[in-house]
């Protein structure tokens, strides 16, 4: 079975994540220590983060963006590298705002 028999256009990830609302705070509630990530070959966060916030870069690092985050906790749970991800909730009133889920 392939995606060919889909009878609707699959949307881009940008449009997909754009369906959720985010009131982005000024403080990055998650920070990633890219020096630690540079040594990581398994990169669990890249495949598991539902918001696709962890993007491998050409130089072998990880580019991380906190802005469109579901605050789910998957990244710190699957990460095998001590200290790579510092995870907190966004400041009060900021972050994802769900409506029909």
């Amino acid at each position: 079975m392939t995606q060919d028999n889909l009878r609707w256009p699959e949307i881009s990830f940008e449009d997909r994540i754009g369906t959720a609302r985010f009131d982005v705070g000024e403080r990055a509630h998650i920070t990633v220590d890219s020096r630690i990530c540079a040594d990581c070959s398994t990169r669990e966060c890249v495949v598991a983060c539902p918001a696709k916030l962890f993007v491998p870069t050409a130089d072998g690092g990880i580019l991380f963006n906190y802005e469109q985050c579901f605050e789910c906790g998957t990244c710190y749970m699957v990460c095998n590298r001590e200290g790579a991800i510092a995870w907190t909730y966004p400041d009060g009133g900021h972050g994802v705002v769900f409506s029909q889920t």
């Binding site: 966060c45 598991a48 029909q100």
Partner: protein, 451 residues
């Protein structure tokens, strides 16, 4: 952003005179927190309900079905007010392989009339409503406020919380942690020593827009009737499952994925949903649906075996913060467990405050209450089921075996005579590589849990 002022509630015996004081601070205005705050306020206990989102429910998503009968006592005739989408009158369990589907489908019109059974609902609507009931009972709700830590006294007893507001400390006699699956409150208090990713699943979901009439035609329901479809298989080899729920004019379609299994392969969550949606048994139900909202949340999947200590010094833990989701295959519940545990925590807290002892010993009644209610009774009875449902055999071998058996039972192979069910089953079990010993063991585990 809706905002509420920092509450000012000085009490004559406030241990920190410059700090607002409430007898109980409830962290998190989800179903557990709001039910806890409602019970406390009705008992005349001063209670502050702190929510980090701009409104209660704004951070919350789930599969899509709530079983609200636990509210009969707290909010009689809740069904008159609760913002639900549809009453579940059809429940289907599907077993999927790449090109087969076995479905057990049940319908009862009894579930379409009061007191109902399950309902689909949007959590931002439902949780907001539950919190409004707490406010109506006299609880103080403080939104857009993140609790950043616990304040403890010299004896290690919790006596307040820190928040991210300026001058944001709040003093209290005790705290009820209802801060969800990532519960930093329970972790900070040392109640959650074992954090094993294998105990968690990631729920990922699309809310698909379709007209009411299309939904009612495709799912064979009318008016406010709705459908709950649970799916085993169809997750591209990642241990987990899928679901489809009907809302009024949307569908909730998604998957639940065991974290280590998801992290160990190369397919992303939204690709697994897309694959599920393209299955020949699923595509006709969902096609044409425009993605209105994409969402995700962690689920404490492992039940009893992953629960933290539920009681600390001046602290109780309820709802997802205490891993009270029930993920037992045919029973997928959580909101009801959250509401019940929140209510039990509040009853215990009210008694402990009256008795003047909110130490761990003074709060021991919480676990007793949970043990004598469905909350821990169900979790104890079903303690081995979440592991069974997510096991490799149930996930990767049984679906193909079941589908092949059913296919052969209904296949007319003339001129061959019918082989007989026992022969079909034996052959298909062997073909699927299932050992009789393992099947018997899993069957026994299932019987003990479900029986």
């Amino acid at each position: 952003m809706p905002d509420s002022p920092m509450p000012d509630n000085p009490m004559p015996d406030n241990p920190m005179p410059e700090t607002p004081f409430f007898e109980v601070v409830v962290v998190g205005a989800g179903p557990a927190g709001s039910c806890a705050a409602t019970v406390l306020a009705r008992r005349g206990v001063s209670v502050l309900l702190i929510e980090r989102g701009p409104f209660p429910g704004s951070k919350n998503m789930y599969g899509g079905v709530v079983y609200p009968r636990i509210l009969d006592s707290l909010h009689p005739e809740w069904w008159e007010e609760m913002p639900i989408q549809r009453w579940v009158t059809r429940r289907s369990t599907m077993v999927l392989t790449e090109n087969q589907a076995v479905t057990i489908d049940f319908r009862s019109q009894n579930w379409g009339v009061p007191p109902y059974n399950g309902a689909t609902a949007y959590r931002p609507d439902m949780d907001h409503w539950l919190a409004s009931k707490a406010e109506a009972a006299g609880a103080r709700l403080l939104t857009s406020t993140t609790v950043t830590g616990l304040i403890t006294d010299a004896r290690g007893q919790v006596c307040g919380v820190r928040t991210d507001r300026p001058d944001g400390d709040v003093a209290c006699r005790m705290v009820i942690a209802c801060d969800g699956v990532n519960s930093f409150v329970a972790k900070e208090a040392g109640l959650y020593p074992d954090l094993n990713p294998a105990n968690f699943t990631l729920g990922v979901k699309e809310t698909l827009g379709l007209s009411r009439s299309v939904i009612e035609e495709r799912f064979a329901v009318r008016d406010r009737e709705g459908v709950d479809i649970e799916i085993l298989g169809g997750t591209q080899g990642v241990n987990g499952g899928g679901f489809i729920y009907t809302n009024l004019d949307t569908l909730a379609v998604g998957v639940v994925l065991k974290l280590p299994a998801l992290a160990a392969q190369k397919t992303r969550p939204e690709e697994i949903i897309a694959h599920l949606k393209s299955h020949p048994g699923i595509a006709p139900l969902v096609e044409g649906g425009e993605i209105l909202e994409y969402s995700a949340h962690l689920i404490p999947e492992a039940g009893r075996s992953m629960m933290p200590q539920l009681t600390g010094e001046g602290l109780l833990v309820a709802g997802d913060a205490a891993a009270m989701c029930l993920a037992a295959g045919i029973w997928l519940e959580g909101v009801n467990f959250a509401m019940a545990s929140g209510m039990a925590a509040a009853e215990t807290a009210a008694e402990a405050i009256t008795a003047g002892d909110v130490s761990k010993r003074g709060l021991a009644g919480y676990e007793k209450r949970l043990n004598s209610s469905f909350v821990l009774a169900d979790h104890d009875k079903l303690s081995r089921i979440p592991g069974l449902v997510l096991s490799d055999r149930v996930q990767h071998q049984y679906p193909q075996m079941i589908a092949n058996v059913v296919e052969r039972v209904f296949r007319v192979d003339n001129p061959q005579p019918k082989p007989g069910l026992r022969k079909i089953f034996a052959e298909e079990r062997k073909r699927a590589g299932v050992r009789l010993r393992d099947l018997a063991r899993d069957g026994w585990t299932g019987m003990r849990g479900f029986g």
